[in-house]
């Protein structure tokens, strides 16, 4: 074979330029209808720009036309992976403004439901994280565990996803017979399963390579960019609304609040696993010490809030869910603003992704645990 030594000269107009890569809104790994426009230089990301609004359902405008009790089912549909927490945020805010005193038993039941919901939501997060990073088995295992929680919720509220369980003045109904036993059986089952997930996934070399050092987010950045929940704690800021600004019956419980240090994907995962264990602990304490009494007080059929406004916040599995309600003395809110943690976290996605590789965008979105229902409302 003759060897050719003729080299073609490099064309003088050959240059480099950035590529615009569009991710979504139909994408298997964007946790919903999120569009991210990436500017990439080879494999390295130079610019990230989330584009949201593909699920904007006019929630806040609707609230201005619906009465206060009617809004409870609507709040379920904002963060549809933790509807109990959304309802809790809403009823806490309205009850504070209206001065409604909720019975003690209802407060404890709210804590039990909110913590069960945290477990269910973190299980979906874990499943999606595995799925996005290429491992499908965690998804199936996590949803299998979540079915236990769904059964408990269905027993007490009648629905699997949109419960409308928390009401203004308490909760809809008391625990059904057998609930406590089933919940305790679940509490005995979970620690072994969590250990199994950690052994299989958190110690997996591929996951460690894809998560350690990826999406670093310092504590100052976290506070400046309004991070909350596990994202904030993974960056090293020790703040948990359940402990530091308690609502419902949280002041009576002792629980761990896991803290990270680097603010990368791995630390966020570790924080959420720690929260899973802490939630099991809280539910155990609550079931043991559940006081007796009513679960619902009588609230006027036509509920009018006094004029004024207030901001009230709770700790959802995603972060701080805040509700700013302005009342003009009528039966509907004059203005209801839903502060969604996922919406605020999306702004920091650019900070977490710039300079990393395209595959890290998926890991970052999964670690932020966004839900488009609350981003867009």
């Amino acid at each position: 074979m003759t060897e050719t030594t003729e080299f073609r000269p490099v064309p003088s107009d050959l240059g480099e330029h950035e590529l615009l890569v569009n991710m979504g809104p139909s994408h298997p790994s964007t946790h919903g209808v999120l569009r991210v426009v990436l500017r990439v230089d080879g494999e390295k990301i130079v610019g990230t720009e989330p584009d949201v609004g593909f699920l904007h359902r006019c929630f806040e405008k609707m609230c201005e036309g619906w009465t206060y009790p009617q809004i409870v089912p609507l709040t379920d549909r904002t963060d549809y992976l933790s509807p109990m927490t959304c309802e809790l945020a809403y009823v806490t805010a309205v009850e504070k403004m209206a001065g409604i005193e909720v019975p003690e038993r209802a407060h404890w039941l709210r804590v039990i439901m909110a913590e069960l919901q945290r477990i269910a939501s973190h299980l979906v997060w874990f499943g999606s994280l595995g799925n996005d990073l290429g491992a499908t088995s965690p998804f199936i295992y996590a949803l299998r565990e979540r079915e236990h929680v769904m059964d408990l919720f269905e027993a007490v509220s009648g629905a699997r996803l949109t419960y409308s369980y928390m009401r203004l003045g308490g909760v809809r109904q008391d625990l059904v017979p057998g609930f406590a036993d089933k919940a305790r059986a679940f509490l005995k089952l979970m620690p072994g399963r969590i250990r199994e997930y950690e052994n299989l996934f958190m110690k997996n070399a591929i996951f460690l390579a894809r998560s350690k050092g990826v999406g670093k987010f310092s504590a100052q950045q976290a506070i400046a960019y309004g991070a909350s929940g596990p994202v904030l704690r993974a960056s090293g800021v020790d703040f948990d609304l359940r402990r530091d600004e308690p609502y419902a019956a949280y002041a009576r419980f002792k629980f761990d609040v896991p803290l990270g240090s680097h603010g990368d994907v791995y630390d966020r995962a570790v924080c959420r696993f720690g929260e899973l264990r802490a939630s099991l602990d809280i539910i155990g304490q609550a079931l043991d010490g559940l006081p007796g009494g009513d679960v619902l007080v009588k609230v006027p059929k036509v509920l009018k809030l006094p004029e004024g406004d207030a901001y009230s916040r709770v700790e959802s599995p995603r972060g701080e869910v805040g509700l700013y309600i302005v009342s003009d003395g009528g039966t509907s809110p004059y203005r209801l603003k839903w502060r969604a943690p996922s919406f605020v976290h999306l702004e920091s996605l650019a900070l977490m992704c710039d300079g990393y590789m395209v595959a890290d965008v998926v890991a970052n979105i999964a670690a932020l645990d966004i839900v488009l229902g609350e981003v867009d409302r």
Partner: protein, 176 residues
């Protein structure tokens, strides 16, 4: 942090902030609520200065912006923008910073606070999108939740939905 003392510590922090603002920002009108939240009303010209003051206050700086919300006061002809601030990690200071602007679309504008709290970026864009309030100094002010071709600002009280009625599509008359 002692969470059980929170209302009392909020009052103490609120009073300190009230005194600070009274001495440094004369145009600010402050009201301390019984639960410790401090309402601060400033004109748009004093907004950025007040924000910087609050974000650097000692000992509890209001370094955490929780929520930016617009409120359309139709009868008064004003739109109010409310910034809810907390201190982090000790939440003992809570302030709601309020500024009002004219409702008229061409006149509705306030300075942006993204230079003080970067998290205001998306939230101010949302207020612009849904209320039509322009934020001067915002790095990227455009619609965020609604499509670019959407006409109007829907959370205004006088917004009317003027889309043509939708008609059902069947397989026979579907046009790709």
């Amino acid at each position: 942090m002692n969470a059980t003392n929170l209302p009392a510590r909020r009052m103490v922090a609120g009073e300190a902030l009230q005194n600070l603002l009274a001495s440094r920002v004369p145009s600010a009108r402050t009201t301390l609520r019984p639960d410790g939240e401090l309402e601060v009303r400033v004109p748009a010209t004093a907004l950025v200065a007040t924000a910087r003051l609050l974000a650097a206050a000692e000992p509890l700086a209001l370094n955490y912006l929780s929520c930016v919300s617009g409120v359309d006061w139709l009868e008064r002809g004003r739109i109010e923008v409310v910034y809810t601030l907390h201190s982090m990690p000790d939440p003992a200071a809570k302030v709601s910073l309020r500024v009002e602007t004219d409702r008229e679309l061409s006149l509705a504008g306030v300075p942006s606070l993204t230079s003080v709290w970067p998290t205001a970026g998306y939230q101010e864009r949302e207020v612009f999108d849904l209320f039509g309030v322009k934020f001067e100094g915002h790095p990227d002010l455009r619609r965020i939740l609604l499509g670019e071709s959407f006409v109007g600002h829907p959370l205004r009280k006088d917004f009317l939905d003027q889309r043509p009625p939708h008609r059902r599509v069947t397989r026979e008359d579907y046009q790709p």
